[in-house]
Amino acid sequence: MTTVSDQQTAASTRSQRAATTASTPRRSLLDRRGAAVVGGLLLPALLLLGWQLVTTTGLVLAYKLPTPASVWAAAVDLASNGDLYLYTAISTQRVLLGFAIGSALGLVVGAVVGLSRLGDVLLSTTLGAIRAVPSLAWVPLLILWLKIGEESKITLIAIGAFFPVYTTVSAALRHVDPHLVEAGRVYGLRGVSLLTGVQLPAVLPSVVSGLRLALAQSWLFLVAAELIASSMGLGFLLVDSGNNGRVDRMILAIVMLALMGKLTDALIGLLERRVLRRWT
């Protein structure tokens, strides 16, 4: 077998050069990532400082905004009887369950609508109308149908998680490069193998960003569910403390929601980075 040897050596020196040049930016990138973490924490630190200043100088009265120390004390207090842990855990469980169910359904229905003309015609109008219903409007109905238990909350969160995934997946599948789909067909892929071999990999980045949106939406819908009907959870803590005038606990609930939302989002961000690295 004859080879195109000088071309190969050209290609290999090129890739070596690429490797050596790639290693230098990677170092500076790592540095920049460290800088990004510090930079990202800068604003929260400033906010905390500002908070401390306005509350200790009496610029804002304590019944409107308690000091950071008293919020911390409220946290320690709630943690000591286990409520803080319980509320955070139950809220997170609801979000994760609702998110899993909603995004799985969103993936399946999005695939049906994105891939089949019939599915599109039959479903997309109805789903568009359902999506237009504001989240709070579902709450009384879900309570009536599913009682005040876990089911009604998880269903509401699933509705919230469903739509971002459904929308991004169906739109992305509709716009998969037809050239690639044809190439897949020419090389013997059809039906399920075409879906797993070309269409799904092609939309993977959109699926992950849809999941990320869905997770954010899940936390949103969690609070909607817990604000109105619950006896546990961070949303309940928020309303209950509001009714009892415990501003420190309200702020604690908000901080916990921010932390948990950011934490789960960071986990999906990790997944996204892995997927995109494999993809490109």
């Binding site: 080879t3 050239h179 067909r185």
Partner: protein, 300 residues
């Protein structure tokens, strides 16, 4: 081992017309695009005829080059043969089966590389391997093909990390991986530099000699057509897209030329040089400063 042998291709009376997209203009514009008035008084929507009255038989193992001006329907013809498109009239046969859809016995090397961006170069080539190639054989076949197109060192790169010419060679390797009965190549060497191009031509001929397969090769390069092919088919543009009353359209194939001599040919062969001038003039290219006033192929 798949026993794909070279298959004959028979094209009879093929026409492909595309509907003219609905105009954005007003009524006057729409009227001008409606060609025939039906007997009932309604208008028949205008269509753009791209290929008409194509008749061509390709023997098993033959290499046929297809040339013609840009937009004359060369890619359309290959898409029809590959089962990616259906003719408006006429039939295409591969072996003795009429083409109705994509077929495992044909492989297409598209005009664009069309590599899957999430797969490595090697994995893209592996896509072309026939179903049921034993696992042990897959890696060696892919390695062989990558060596053939000179991309062994790039096996693990992703499509976005390679050049346009490299991508085109990956696409060629993917098509060859299939060991097809009919190989349809749409300008496979278009993006290559002159030297690589000559090498790839030799490789194609070598693969063809080792394992005969029927090849239809679209090219813009008349010299390449004459060097590689047993016959050269010249197509013309049959309709400019405005008005194309069906009865006025002349056949797409203007000329079928038997290339003299057997492969491997001498690139400096005087007969080929003459044929080259003849074909170029047929395509409307003036090859001498003192034009011999040679008539181009009759245009419509």
């Amino acid at each position: 081992m798949s026993a794909a042998t070279a298959l004959p291709v028979t094209i009879t009376g093929v026409r492909r017309a595309f509907p003219v997209p609905a105009s954005r203009g007003g009524r006057a514009d729409r009227a001008s695009r409606s060609v025939r008035r039906g007997t009932t008084g309604g208008t028949v929507p205008a269509e753009r005829i791209v290929l008409d009255q194509v008749d061509l038989t390709v023997e098993p193992g033959e290499i046929v080059a297809v040339i013609g001006p840009s937009g004359c329907g060369k890619s359309t013809l290959l898409r029809l043969l590959g089962g990616l498109d259906t003719p408006s009239a006429g039939t295409l046969r591969i072996g003795d089966q009429i083409v109705t859809g994509t077929d495992t016995r044909t492989a297409i090397g598209f005009q664009e590389p069309r590599l899957l961006p999430w797969r490595t170069v090697a994995q893209n080539v592996a896509l072309g391997l026939p179903r049921g190639t034993p696992r042990s054989e897959r890696a060696t076949r892919v390695a062989e093909l990558l060596e053939l197109v000179g991309l062994t060192a790039s096996a693990d790169l992703r499509p976005r990390q390679i050049s346009g010419g490299m991508a085109q060679r990956v696409s060629l390797a993917r098509a060859l991986a299939r060991r097809p009965g009919v190989l349809l190549l749409d300008e496979p060497f278009g993006a290559l530099d002159a030297l690589t191009r000559l090498r790839m031509q030799e490789e194609l001929l070598r693969v063809h000699a080792a394992r005969p397969t029927t090849v239809l090769l679209v090219t813009h390069d008349v010299e390449e057509a004459l060097y590689l092919a047993d016959r050269v088919v010249a197509l013309r543009t049959v309709s400019d897209g405005e008005h194309s009353p069906v009865s006025d359209v002349a056949p797409s194939v203007v000329r079928v030329l038997d290339v003299p001599g057997a492969r491997p040919r001498d690139r400096a062969d005087a007969r080929l040089a003459e044929l080259r001038v003849e074909l170029l003039e047929g395509l409307g290219v003036v090859t001498h400063h003192v034009s011999g006033a040679s008539e181009p192929y009759p245009a419509i």
